[in-house]
Symmetry: C3
Subunit: 350 residues, 3 copies
Amino acid sequence: MTIQEIRDYLSRFVGAVELAGNADELISGPAKIESAQKGQVSFIANEKYTRYLDTTAASLVIVHKSVNVDEFSHHTSFLKVGDPYTAFVFLLQKFATPRTIALKGIARTAVIGEGVSIGEGVSIGDHVVIGDRCTIGSNAVIGPHTVLFHDIFIGDDAVLFPNVTIYDGTLIGKRVVIHSGSVIGADGFGFAPQSDGSYVKIPQMGIVEIGDDVEIGANATIDRATMGSTVIGRGAKIDNLVQIAHNCRIGEDTVIAAQAGISGSVTLGKQCMVGGQAGFAGHLELADRIQVAAQAGISKSFLEPGIALRGYPAQPMREQLKHEAMLRNLGAMKEKLNLLETELKQLKNS
Amino acid sequence: MTIQEIRDYLSRFVGAVELAGNADELISGPAKIESAQKGQVSFIANEKYTRYLDTTAASLVIVHKSVNVDEFSHHTSFLKVGDPYTAFVFLLQKFATPRTIALKGIARTAVIGEGVSIGEGVSIGDHVVIGDRCTIGSNAVIGPHTVLFHDIFIGDDAVLFPNVTIYDGTLIGKRVVIHSGSVIGADGFGFAPQSDGSYVKIPQMGIVEIGDDVEIGANATIDRATMGSTVIGRGAKIDNLVQIAHNCRIGEDTVIAAQAGISGSVTLGKQCMVGGQAGFAGHLELADRIQVAAQAGISKSFLEPGIALRGYPAQPMREQLKHEAMLRNLGAMKEKLNLLETELKQLKNS
Amino acid sequence: MTIQEIRDYLSRFVGAVELAGNADELISGPAKIESAQKGQVSFIANEKYTRYLDTTAASLVIVHKSVNVDEFSHHTSFLKVGDPYTAFVFLLQKFATPRTIALKGIARTAVIGEGVSIGEGVSIGDHVVIGDRCTIGSNAVIGPHTVLFHDIFIGDDAVLFPNVTIYDGTLIGKRVVIHSGSVIGADGFGFAPQSDGSYVKIPQMGIVEIGDDVEIGANATIDRATMGSTVIGRGAKIDNLVQIAHNCRIGEDTVIAAQAGISGSVTLGKQCMVGGQAGFAGHLELADRIQVAAQAGISKSFLEPGIALRGYPAQPMREQLKHEAMLRNLGAMKEKLNLLETELKQLKNS
C-alpha cells in the first residue's frame, strides 16, 4: 500500500489528511514508534512521544495536524490529521489479516441438532455441537469446540471463538464477538435457605439477551435470569473474567474491565465505564456515563449521570479524594493532637 | 395446571395453603409481579411490592397469610401461605422444563476409556472424553465436550454441563451440579523456591472430594491437594469464577459468591456465607455460620460461630462498622482539632 | 524403595543426608506427618510440628540436621538434611505417578491442519484441533479438546492440559505447563471511543510469547499484544484465574497468585511475587523482586528492587503498616481529642 493509498483510505474515516513527504513509498505494515523499521507506519498521539520523531526509522508517521514536521528527519513522511490515534486504529484494521477461526461451511466433525436454521456463508468449526432449533445468522462464525444448547439465536456476522458455551434460549445479536472460554446463560446463583441450614435450588428459567456489536472477552460468565432476561445492551464491551449475575441489565456502550463482578439485578446505564476488579452489591442502579474506578466497591445506587466513583464503599470522586487526602494526613493530625496535649498541660501547670 | 392443583402441590411442601378465588382457573407459568399476564402466577414476599397487587394482571398471586386480599382486584386469585418465597421456589421447580444437556445413552462421538463403569440411565454427550477406570453413577449426565481424566467417580444423578474438566482421581457425590468451564482437580499452586531464584514444582499428589448436593458455577477452579484431599462439604454452593486452592476444606451448606478466592489449606465451617470477591489468606480457619462481606480480606482465623466479618483486614462487623463510622467522621475530628488549636492559642495569649 | 535408596536419591539433590535407623525398610509413599502410616515417609520443616514425632506412625521422617532424633520412637527412621522441605519436594517428585493426559501419537479424533510439524514422542489427545503451520516440539503433550489456532509454536516437553485455547501466532517455550480452561492470546481489550459514545475495535495484531519453564494455572487469561508481544518470562508461575492484559511483560521467575489482574502494558521485574486478587493500573513498572500483598491495588510504578507493597493505593510495607496502625488507633485519638476539649473548656471557665 502506498502512502497515497493510505491517505485516501484514512480520509474516508477521519476527514482532512495532509501529506508531507513521498506519496509513492510502499508501506508494509504498522509498528510501535519505538520499534518501527523502514517500510512501516507508526503514529504519535501524545506529545511526550514526539521525541521519537528524531530517531524513528519509520517511513511514515501519523501525527496531529499541529505538529511542525519540517524539523524531523527527511527519510520519514508524515500524514497530519485531527485525531492521529483514531486514524491509526482504522489503519490497523486495514492491515489486520483476517483471522481464520473456522472454514466456510460445516466441519465434518461438527454435530448439528434437529430443526437448526443456518444462514448463508456460515463457518462452523470442528467438533462444534449445536442443539435443536438453533438459528445461526448469515456469515456467523462458530469456532471449533464451541457448544450451543437448544433454542439459541445467533445474529448475522457474529463470531464465537473456540470453547465458548452458550446455554439454552440465549439470544445473541449481530456482529457480537465472544472470546474463548466464556459461558453465557449458566444458572444464576439462586438458592432458598431452609430451616435446617440447607438450600433448595431456585430454578433459573430466564435467558440472556446480548445486543448487537457487543464484545465479550475470554472466560467471562454471564448468568441467565431467574425469570425474564439478563440483558447486555448494544455495543457494550466486557473484558476477560468478568462476572455478570442473573437479572442484570447492562446499558448500551458500557465498558466493563477485567475481573469486575456485577451482582444480581444490577442495572448499569449507558456509556458507563467500570474499572477492573470493581464489585457491585445486588439490586442497585447506576445512571448513564458513570465511571467506576478499579477495585471500587459499589454498595448503593448512584443516579446522577456522568459522575465518577471510587473507594470502598464507593463514593463520588471528589469526596473520596478528599477522604483519601485526610487519611494520608492522619500522621500530621496525630502530631498536632500530641502538641496540643503538651501545651494544654503546660498551661494548666502554669 | 389449575389453581386447585397448585394448592395441592404446594401444601405438600409448605404446610397450610389458603385459597381466595377461583380454584378452576388454568395457570400456564410463573412471572415477576410487575410483568405477569393473565394466566400466570406470581408472588409477593416483601411488603414494599404489595402496591403491585392493585394493578397486576396475574391470575394468581402467592402472598403471606397475613395479607388482606379482599381489597384487591377480583380478577386475581390468591394462595395464602406462611412463606410465599419458598412456596414460589417450589412452584418454579414444578413449571421448569427439564433441560436436555445430553441424550440418554452414549453419544457416537464420545470416547470412553478402558474399565469404565457406567450406571443405568446415564446421558453422555457428544465429544465427551472419559479416561480409564472411571465410574459414572446412575442417571448422571455428562454434557458435550466435558473431559474426565482417569480414576474419577461421579455419583448418581450428578450433572456436569458442557466443557467441564475433571482431573484424575476426583470423587464427585450424588446430585452434584457443575456448570460449564469449571476445572476440578488441577494442580495446586506449589513451587519450592531455589537459591538461584527459580522454582521447583511440588508435585500435587492429592485429589478433590466433592460431597453430595454441591453446586458449582461456571469457570470456577478447585485445585487438588498436595497430599490428601481438597474437600467441598455436602450441600455447599460455589458461584462462578471462584478459586479454591489446594488442601482447603469447605464446610457443609457453605455458600461462596462469585470471584471469591480461598487460599491454600483454609478451613471454612458449616453454613458459612462468603460474599463476592472476598479473599482469604492461607492456612486459616473460620467457625460455622460465619458471614463474610463482599470484597473482605480475611487475614486470620475467626473461631466464634455465627459472627459477621467485613473490611480489610476483616474484623467483626460491629468493630468494623464503628471503624468505618470513625473514618467518615474524620473531617469533623480535623475541624475540632483546628478549633481547639485556635482556642488554646487565644488562651495562651490572654 | 528402601530408606537407603531414598538416601542415595536425595543426596544427589540436597547434599549430605545422614541416616538414623533402618536402611533396609521399604517405603511405599509420602504422607502428611499427622496422617502418615507405617511404610510411609513424611517430613518436619517447622519446629512447631516436632511434637508429631512422638506419635507418628511414619516409618521414615526427613528432619533438619539439628534435630536430636534419639529421643523419638524407635519404630521411626530419620534422614537428617540441611533443608527438609526441599528434600521432601524432590522425594514427592520421585513418588509421583506420571499423569497420562493423552497417549503417545495422534488420537484418531484429533483434527490436524496443513503444514503442521510434529516432533518425536508427541501425545495429541482426542478431539484436539491444531491449525495450519503449527509446530509441536518433541515429547510435547496436547490434552484432549485443546484447540490451537494457526501458526503456533509449542516447545519440547510442553504440556497443555485439556480444554486449553491458544490463539494464532502464540510462541510457547520448552517444558511450559498450561492447565485446563486457560486462554492464551485472545484479543486485548482495546476500543477507541467515538464521538457518539460507541467504540471502534482496535485490532490486536501482536502475539503472546511464553518463555521456557513457565506454568500457568486453570482458567487464566493472557491477552495478545496490540502490536509486538505480551511476554511471560522464563520460569514465571501464574495461578488460576489470573488476568494478564495486552502488552504486559512479566519478568523471569515472577510468581502471580490466583485472581490477580495485571492491566495493559505493565512491566513486572524478575522474581517478583504478586499476591492473590492484587490489581495493577495500566502502563506501570515494578522493579525486580518486589512483593505485592494480596488484594493490593498498585496505582503507580515502584522502581526500588526488593521492596514489599501493600494496601490501596499500595505503598511500601513500612509506611502502609504505620498507616494501618494509625487507623487502628483512631478511637484513642478521638478520645484524647474529646478529653482535651473538656479540659480546655474547664480551663477557660476557671
